[in-house]
Amino acid sequence: MSRFFRAGESDSDETDSDFSEDISQSESEDHSDSDSDDSSDDDDMPKKGRLFGGPLEDSDSDDDTVRVVRSAKDKRFEEIEQAVTLMANGQKINDWVSVQNEFDRANKALQKSAGIIAQTGVPKFYITAVADLEKAIQTALDKEKSASKKMNASNAKALNSMKQKVKKNNRLYEKEIQEYEKDPENYDVEEEVVEVKPKAKKTKKVVESESEDEDEDEAVDDGFTPVGAGGKTVEYTQDNLFKKLREVADARGKKNTNREEQVRILEKLLLIASSPYQKIRVLLSLISAQFDFATGISGYMSIPLWKSADKYLNALLTILEAHQDYAVMENVPEEDESDKDRAPEKGRTLFIQGSLVAFVDRLDDEFTKSLQNIDPHTTDYVDRLKDEVGLYTVIVRSNAYFTRLQMVDAVSRTTMRRLEHLYFKPDVVIMAVEAATAGLLPASVAKPSQDSSSLIHDLCVYLYKNASSLLRTRAMLCHIYHHALHNRFFVARDMLLMSHLQETIHQADITTQILHNRTMVQLGLCAFREGRIKEAQACLQDISGTGRVKELLAQGLSLQRYGAATPEQEKLERQRQLPFHMHINLELLECAYLTCSMLLEIPNLASAGANPENRKRVISKPFRRMLDYNSRQVFTGPPENTRDHIMGAAKALASGEWQKSIELINAIKIWELMPENEKIKEMLGRKIQEEGLRTYLFTNASYYSSVGLEQLAKMFDLPLASVISIVSKMVWNEELSASIDQVSNVVVLHHVEPSKVQSLALAFADKAAGFVEGNEKLLELKTPQQGERPKKGPGGAKDQASGKQQQQRTMGPRGGRGGRNQFNNGLGNSVRGGRK
């Protein structure tokens, strides 16, 4: 298109539009990377556009009249061109049979015109076409491999044979294709110059309008594309704006609608639109058109597109803020089709149909999706993360807007979104984000808050008051998470207990369950930081004890042990994954969990002694397993990873070498990720001393008749008072049969062994209890079945029974549902376990 200007326009214009073309080209290249479907139309679009002048069919007739006078060469080439176009169409709709036919036709025509080709060389559009075709086939094959739904047999066959043919064919034109690939934009340009020249006159009008546009708004420059070359189609004026808008809206969602084209048209329209009403309408369509690009579950919006959507959404909000008498609402009757520009009457608000909150949701979702898909260890991820401020701004802004309009539901939703962007962040980050947002927004919209906790509190309180129960639950969890993050263990714990969330959480949807799991883990870590080992262990047990930490926290796909997951299930799970920056460090989590387990389990083991019945009382199964494994090894080398360190520390603690234990624990590197790790290490050291004392007493009590308290204090480097308190506690809890002689400051140990009958009676009681429990389980299994037993009941009962089972069945096999149920079960168990 740049060449048009060479015919009539000045030089300055040419550079401008050249520039714009480059950008649009590179942009379309971007799309092709992300979406294989687009790749085919992107790549042949510019070519088609340049040759025929425009995307609309009527422009073809113009071309034909021009071509009548052409030479034999043109005629032949035209045939090839036609075939190429049809081929491209076939690619787009994945119809490989027709692609194959057209490919054969093009090759035949090519052979016929061998004489001409000998003079002029192979036509370049053919080269581009076959090069693109090869790529398209490759992507189609790739997609075919991963797709869950296979294409039908004949199609697949055609695709495979095409692959062979194209490979063979392309070998002939290797050089040309290489040339093309080197510079795909400019490759076929020179040739077109000749052909397109006669049409230059027609484009004049467009050029005028374009130059007008450029005056209006320089910023939208990258929106310019060579679309307008067709002629009359590009006459966008104020008058036909609504008509065009409707055309676009009608075409939306239909097959063969070129989405990119639509976006371009809308962008044009936006430039023309002058009144707020027009702008709002165009922007609404434009944003939704942009969101239409991202399709499928795993695909995500390309970043430039996302950014432009973000920009337009901001623009829309700006307009709405500036003109407070316009309001975009969801439940407003459809506007009449009279393409009139409407303006609000004095003192009243004009309602326009549209859903801003959906846009915000979508924008946020797309952001999350892109983060899920970008490798978190690259700079891309960090760059992408920087966009969060913008997104957050939009959310805050729309929130303010909804608040003004008193749309409670939308306000709740955006508040929730806002909260979800904040709750897991440390104070500094929250304040930075808030400050940045305040900087970006007009003062009327954003009020920067001084304190992150009060901000979170305000947001949550709003949600508690106004939102639906699901959002309330989520808000509560976020609030607890935030408290836990700030070491307010008791506040967080009380909130968790008061809300009775744990009883119902296994009925909630999976994302909420994940949030709950995250909260529990964070609460556990908080308790750990506070030195509440028992609480920490209890909180972490549900998650860390299962061995499915990754899955439960949605921080990575768990290894499917039975390979039971279908591709759909896996896809769903992939979709649920949290972006990397929200992750809780799993190694730190494991480290904290194991340390807690060690501190509880070692004295427990010591108190159980050699009695096998008592040894069965397990606090932490994973820890026991690891310890067993570790002690089975003939030779243990120096500790390398976190686990080795903890196992080593556990062994040292069990044998009373508390100094060594402390050394090993302090050598763990991952503690450095904890805030104030020195304090935590100190706390752990102290705990190890205490537990070491307890372990010592448990193991050695039977060998002494009395132990001096001072001696104990010296041995474990503890103050006498705390030794007394620990021993008293043990005596009180009946863990140790002893008494303290305060006069001579010794612990007098009593040796009482249960008689044989007593111990037998105890063992028998245990056994009987276990048996009764088993019986009850059996009965439970049996009771629901009774109603359904089809053998006994008459016909009616039979039907009923099978009906009941039918319900179960319909729920069963559906892939995602099944997966969810499984997941629920897992969580349900863990929750139940936690309540005990």
């Binding site: 037998l760 056994k767 088993g774 299994l781 049996k782 089809p790």
Partner: protein, 351 residues
Amino acid sequence: MPANKELSAALDIEGTAPIHSVQLDAMVVLKIVKHCRESVPTTVTGQLMGLDVNGVLEVTHSFPMPKNQDSEDFEGSQYQLQMMHCLREVNVDDNSVGWYQSTNMGNFMNQSLIDHQFEFQQALSKSVLIIHDVARSSMGNLNLRALRLTPAFMKLYKEKKFTSEALAKAKLTFSNIFEELPITIRNTALLSALLYELETSDETLEVSTSHLNTYKNNTPAKSSVLTPSFDMLDLSMDPFVAKNLENLMDTIDDHTQEQGNYAYWQRSVERENKKKAAHILNRKTENARRAQAGQAPLPNEDVDALFKLPAEPSRLDHLLISGQIDNYCKQINEFAGPTLGKLFAVGELQK
């Protein structure tokens, strides 16, 4: 009255009158006790000879079976026949009316015993099983029990059908596998006379009865011959309770295993039922579709053939284990009452 009784006994030619009690001759009892006590702790068995008279099974003779029965089954029955033949030769009762078995702490409820008794009762409908508990007898009281399988159990056992349903129908629980018959011990007139004589013995009699005395000293015969057993006053209760508890634990373990089997079965039934229901549903929708298309519906009969429910595991083991547990519990109960009394008595004495 005796004439009347004799008459009815004579009239009862077919032997239809059910047995309501067992009468053991003193000699039989002593033989059983001797045999059982000698071979502790192994379990021994023997044959009972006698006749049923008017609902009373009179056992007049018994002989032990050789111990190494397990070497070959054939040998045992051969021995039994030969023995009975010999008894007939010397004019002793040779009518087999049952068998006896020794046991330890009442753990006799097992499959082989049931098998054996079933065979007996099949062949001789009036045969009984005498159980002699050596361990418990050694604590003071002679422990003999006469047991018969109940008719309900016999019927089920014949059909080998121990499903929950059949059990419920026959109203069979662990407590009515066996019916227990009262035992009376009969002394011959001569023996009674001797005993009376011993009881009222004085110095003059001492010479004649001194051979019965185990102690060759000056203690009066009265106290030496019919000394009351002081075993009853034994205060060591631990071994008995401990033993019982151990046994109980073993049986509970067995029961838990049974429980596991049953649960497994239940789960598999449920699975199969689900599959079946799914199939029926499929067939239904298929039929609905076919009805719309005007085709004949597919038959529904083959469903049961397609999905076979797994057979319920036999409940016999469960039954026996329950019975065994019941036995142990009763024993402990029986033991606990008198022991408590003893302990209190001793406590009073020590004051």
